[in-house]
Symmetry: D2
Subunit: 255 residues, 4 copies
């Protein structure tokens, strides 16, 4: 069957969903359920660990059934990101983590210099970092050499919903990678997710496209289907395009 | 549940598949099965009705379980198309039919003048024509007034696999129509089908994208999923796009 | 030198500009001047012919130096359009005219059925109609057979500025035509005009893109340059595209 | 008048052309002339400096009239690039240089880590490096901080002619930059160059699009016009787009 494996963990679902922007944890859990995702990503710096009177995400999404992927959202330096993930490991034992080191608040583009530094440090400390990155095929290879267990290029700015802007770079990254490649940001609707998979990506991570849909639960289902559709289309080997028409039925020899 | 109705017939699947270009009827039937389609379209002028030694499509695809939609592929005038469908009705009793009147062989674009004439004639004779047409919002309304029970604009030339070229016209046709709208040609891969559904179409008809994939059965499944994904995405109300990034997690108030 | 000819009239400029939406006639005249256009199109039904106290366009744009192309903007039937152009001919002697028969006010798409009828009538009465039409290659041929001296498909809805939505249809129309083809609507900025010319069109007609720019005069100049650029690029025979990079300098044999 | 300035040098032309792939130096010089470019970029490692029997580029393109911009094409490390430019400075006194440090031969994508290192070194040694880079807004800012006097993101892989793949990143780089931004690779035809300028870039560098056109001289002229067209369109402030049509002439109050 069609699975993918990252740092020794094998998954059937190729969709990873987030935990921001939902109305509440119940809606988040329902969307996760509808999406079929086996991995949920959580901003370590936003997790409530201190106030027992506030609701806990783990009460809604069972860490025994769903893989929690701690991420470093909100970190703007390698040091900050590394410290954040050390805390996460101490608290919950996670070593499969998602690294993001942001360059600035307006674009939320990664700072690739800091990202590379953090990846090296994390790998040396035994983490398995899945790494948010620019759609730069050379930087992607360098991340891999530095110890990234998955390459996660953005398709468009985080939360923009603009869809995958550059199919050439995503294709080149996929062709060059020997670890899984997942599109990490920019998906706005189902066809965007399908496009990412048709380019040969191993999966898609998204948050806003589901959380900000008018009906997040239905959109979560749409994304589950779109990722599977794109994956199947990629594996099927699509038809070549033609500049002119080509009849489904031979025009010669008709009755 | 989410169904659509054309001329009194209600369907759950929003995918219509063809019967050209497959290796053989067995492969065609397997692709149909994988696609989940409830309607299959057949070129009347290519159907074997005379040679009992040749295989029959109906031996592979059961007309009792799947709706046969006779089409006029290969007809270049209204008269030819009308005659073809009269024959089909006499032979099999069909009145839900697919009309296509081609303008020329290179582009396989419809001749809209002849198409309008044929639609009127067919409607007057009690047919329920689903009509292949240019992606022209005004012509679409005229077809509807002439008796078309479904509007089927091309997304790109038949068999080209180029994907939906003009999202503006498809959207305008959907907004103006009071009968179902289905994209009828040009889909090349799964995301193309999702795009059509996200524009609000009621369904997609395709043939080459499935039949010419390296693995037609898997592509048929991809298309089933893509059409559902696009439909769900349309009904969910997608997020608005943004020019800049927007964090999934508020950057303020981090630990 | 590179000229084009329509109904016996030869022009060097491949840009046709309109006369709507400008602040005043002076601005319109200045934009025309900057655009280098030799043809200006005027809505017959809006021309002031009765009130001598109102300014006259002809006081600003000299009909002795610029070809006036009367158009039927605002006509929704063939009869209305034909009557309008008969009036124009009686008043000014024009027989080179621009026909547009609109289908409805929201999309301003042409009604191709009425457009074809009007084209035939006009041709029979000795007019030379340049015809606004849908981007439908078969309808384009029918217009030509009916007597159109130029085919003028829309690139996007009039006044939308969305740019050319469907490069496939424009290319197919150009390949099939034996009269000039001009993109008639939808251009929003300079690159849109260049794209139209690169597809092999003989010219571009635009109004809103110039009139609604913050600086219409400068945009008029941009359009003049863009049309020339696109024309030159078309005639030069552009490079083929490549899936991968190709060095400008051979990497072997370097110092 | 509309000029741009890099490291104290002011230019009127916003087009920079290359010196690879031409039939011979004479054709190269003629294309340069037709392009109106004031800067020509030359691969230092390919320049013939030793064989007096071979033709010299400087015999065809006068360094007294055109600014030579030495580039590091073919360099895959910072050290190699820095050494190459030191040689160039010793030989010809250039300090305005174009840095490119490639990551690998297939994509010719820059190695941004090495590129940043080289930029720092060059700036420290008094060079004024214009820097080829990935279309990564954060890396662009880091280059600027490291001493780049111009940011030169690729639009698509070198020599691919695919056109600008990601308008979002180019726009973000332009918005963030306080030095000139020039698109450095990927342009295939005139409209691509116009698009780059409409995004607010200060200029465009190209080689293959001109050299591999069937008629390089005419394409050079096309590019000159396209760059000017895009610049004028950018400065004019283009119209907003609309989802629906908008008549050039008010439909009310017609005669």
């Amino acid at each position: 069957d069609d699975t993918w494996t990252v740092a020794g963990h094998t998954f059937r679902s190729r969709l990873i969903v987030g935990t921001g922007k939902y109305k509440d944890f119940a809606q988040n859990a329902a969307a996760l359920e509808a999406s079929g995702a086996e991995i949920v990503t959580v901003a370590v710096r936003r997790v409530n660990v201190s106030d027992p009177n506030q609701p806990m995400l783990t009460d809604f999404i069972d860490p025994g059934k769903v893989t929690y992927l701690p991420n470093t959202a909100g970190c703007f330096t390698a040091d900050e990101a590394v410290r954040t993930l050390r805390l996460a490991r101490e608290a919950g034992g996670w070593d499969l983590v998602k690294l993001e080191v942001l360059g600035e608040a307006k674009t939320l583009y990664p700072d690739m210099r800091e990202t590379l530094r953090a990846t090296e440090t994390l790998a040396n400390e035994g983490f398995h970092p899945m790494v948010y990155c620019a759609d730069d095929p050379i930087a992607a290879k360098q991340l891999e050499e530095a110890g990234a267990v998955a390459i996660m290029p953005l398709g468009a700015p985080i939360g923009s919903g603009l869809g995958i802007q550059n199919r050439v770079t995503i294709r080149l990254i996929v062709e060059g990678a020997s670890v899984p490649v997942l599109v990490d940001a920019g998906v706005g609707t189902a066809s965007d997710a399908a496009v990412g998979m048709e380019l040969g990506c191993d999966g898609i991570l998204m948050n806003t496209a589901i959380a900000e849909a008018k009906d997040p639960i239905r959109m979560a289902r749409a994304m589950k289907l779109a990722v599977r559709a794109g994956r199947d289309a990629y594996l099927s080997g699509r038809m070549a395009t033609r500049k002119y028409a080509d009849p489904s039925s031979p025009l010669a020899g008709l009755i």
